[in-house]
Symmetry: C2
Subunit: 420 residues, 2 copies
């Protein structure tokens, strides 16, 4: 089966917005092995929209349309589809009553313009909109099937789950593709490829996909649906988990590195404080993105000026002068200092040169020291980094390495991997 996606809305033809709804639709098409042959965007213009709909119906059996179902005069999708298919638009008393009831539940009278949203294309199946007023429509025609979805992302999302997925299950042939995800911190893509060589050999290159972003790598495993596919995928996932070891920080798609660190701290009953120089508070900011972080995050000393490393963290002035602010010695003293001064179980410290200025031959831009002081007797860790990229990238990568250093230390202290 071949599919095409059409996004309707003049705002999507400007310089500010892109059609991102298509990514959500594409993910479902991919799951069910439906080939997406093209995507299109068109403005709120009846003739243009009608012509394009005709072309798409000719190009693909399944056409998914988003947007243009609203109540105003520039919402033209229903009308254009009716014309393109040579069908009538009929006002549905039932849908009208439903929309009126939705307004009533907010204590409002339905504006007269919303009556347009009760118009149904002859022969269409109405798709309930649990999160808004405009219902979707599914129209089977002689060359295939058309879905009309609302353009508002969270309304679309609910309708995809409630209407498109069940339809694909019945019509796209076979159960959906199975997927697994492992997220890895601070491993370059090339290193991961080498590490995974035995898995590529055993399971084939198509089953394993890598997607890299700053300091994070997603390892995506896929297999055909059904019990056999699932069984193979279980074995592949186990093999990849063995090969990647504790570089895998989560198998949950939405979970961030800072949330994993917070979970480990919370489970162990430990707290952390950070001492930051070149990251300027980024590590603290990331940790406090996690809801409930007050249970395990106490605070941070952002000691950007060197004198504050002395005044707030108790660093020896001589140590600073002898080794320079960007050094293993100062990083370790910052970690110990913040742990003591802020009375936390762990102290995590960062000092480095984010650029663009401040680099020297010996310590070029991207030189960073990360240090950790822990609760066990003398427990500590240190990493010296040479990071690539501009100021923004160096800071982002540094925060990633710092959080991962703490994560590994917590795993080691816990005596084993966190249960998945």
């Amino acid at each position: 089966m071949r599919a095409a996606i059409l996004a309707v809305g003049s705002e999507l033809l400007g310089t500010e917005r892109l059609d991102t709804n298509s990514l959500l639709l594409t993910a479902q098409l991919e799951r069910f092995g439906v080939v997406l042959c093209r995507k299109a965007v068109v403005g709120d213009e009846l003739e243009e929209l009608g012509g394009l709909l005709g072309e798409l119906i000719g190009a693909a059996e399944l056409v998914l349309v988003t947007g243009g179902l609203g109540p105003t005069a520039d919402d033209l999708t229903r009308q254009a589809v009716a014309t393109a298919l040579g069908r009538r638009l009929i006002e549905s008393a039932e849908i009208g009553a439903d929309i009126e009831a939705k307004f009533a539940s907010f204590g409002m009278r339905m504006p007269e313009v919303n009556r347009r949203q009760a118009e149904v294309i002859e022969g269409a199946e109405v798709l309930a909109n649990r999160r808004g007023t405009a219902p979707g429509l599914r129209i089977d025609h002689e060359r295939g099937t058309l879905f009309l979805f609302p353009g508002v992302p969270h309304e679309l999302e609910a309708m995809v789950a409630g209407a498109l997925v069940p339809w694909l299950e019945r019509h796209a042939g076979g159960p959906p593709r199975e997927e697994r995800l492992l997220k890895v911190a601070c491993v370059p893509e090339s290193t991961a490829e080498e590490t995974l060589a035995p898995a590529y050999e055993e399971f084939g290159t198509k089953a394993i996909g890598l997607l890299a972003s700053a300091g994070e790598l997603q390892v995506r495993l896929t297999a055909r649906g059904g019990a056999a596919g699932r069984g193979g995928l279980d074995r592949l996932e186990q093999r990849v988990a063995e090969l990647m070891g504790d570089t895998v920080f989560t198998r949950r798609p939405g979970e961030t590195l800072e949330a994993v660190v917070g979970g480990l701290l919370g489970a162990a009953g430990y707290t952390v404080a950070t001492a930051e120089s070149c990251t300027g508070g980024l590590v603290a900011e990331r940790l406090t993105r996690v809801a409930g972080s007050s249970l395990w995050f106490v605070g941070s000393a952002v000691t950007y000026a060197d004198r504050l490393k002395v005044e707030l963290l108790g660093i020896d002035v001589e140590l600073l002068e002898r080794h320079g602010a960007v050094s293993r010695e100062v990083a370790e003293a910052m970690a110990t200092g913040v742990r003591e001064r802020l009375s936390s179980d762990y102290g995590l410290a960062i000092t480095g040169i984010a650029g663009p200025g401040g680099g020297t031959e010996e310590k070029p831009v991207g030189t960073v020291h990360v240090a950790l002081a822990g609760p066990a007797n003398g427990s500590s860790a240190h990493r010296r980094l040479r990071l690539p990229g501009d100021r923004r990238r160096v800071r982002r990568l540094t925060s990633q390495w710092a959080l991962d250093l703490l994560r590994r230390e917590l795993l080691a202290a816990g005596g084993g991997a966190r249960p998945a």
Copy 2:
């Protein structure tokens, strides 16, 4: 003139990437008043690409194609266009020699596959690629004009400036539209619309566009090109600047609020330190995104745990107990405390409830106090906020209000507006 944009590349039909090149092209079309009637994305598939090209040539006089000009077998744009227009592909010895010379300049031999990039569509104008090997092409045909551009963004960017803009100047009729931008902090869109009512009345609604994002509003002014348009735009810009007053923080498109604050601090020779609770270091992190921030940013005390407000900032325990951590009194004490303890000219303090937990009836989620302590005798400022949205949005908006509080104080202390 009507235009269509086509992006070629199977990677643009997956779940990870969107065609962002079209935004760059759209900006130029808008400048010259060319109407974009549709956008399309297609994979590396000859038949599909050929069919779509035919449709687009029928729909628009100007068709802009990006991608598919590379050297590999899946780069099919040249071939598909030649077929769609019924023209031959001819290998150009001159372009071949040029590509060979580019490789030679890197000390490499040209791979044989790159010879494909020397193929030219009969009758096409070759567009030089200053940043890569694949030349672009412009083909005038009986129904209009086609541009073929490389898909690599920085190659495309140079070719748009070098070839598309001059062509639009000659063919789209008249000089490009003139634009001005004013960026405003912490003013709701509806308030700005009311404030700008006299300007809408005098200059028309089409000349003024508002684009809102979290805590920031872009006011865009446009006029037809040429001396008359520019003159009108100067008057409009002055009127808008008068009406919006010191809520305008910059007229430079790429300049951030934190960079403006840094510029004001640097110009006045002042330093700042922050004391942050619910923002967890976000304000410090934003200030240190600015290169060279060590000249005016000294550090931050992220006092997430209440006891650190006492230990690091010297807040009176009784004050905390009497008013609660989220109060005007504590915010002001934090500002004074961080200014004294970190020896900065300004102390900027934030305490609030970012959610999702921690809200009460009296102080619901989104309640935030921002306070500033300054160098002049008793100089201080305070804002109590009730911010909408989730944790992420409350933190972002808070950082925006805090930075803007400091900006306005610096403007007031400087005795006037910063020269634009």
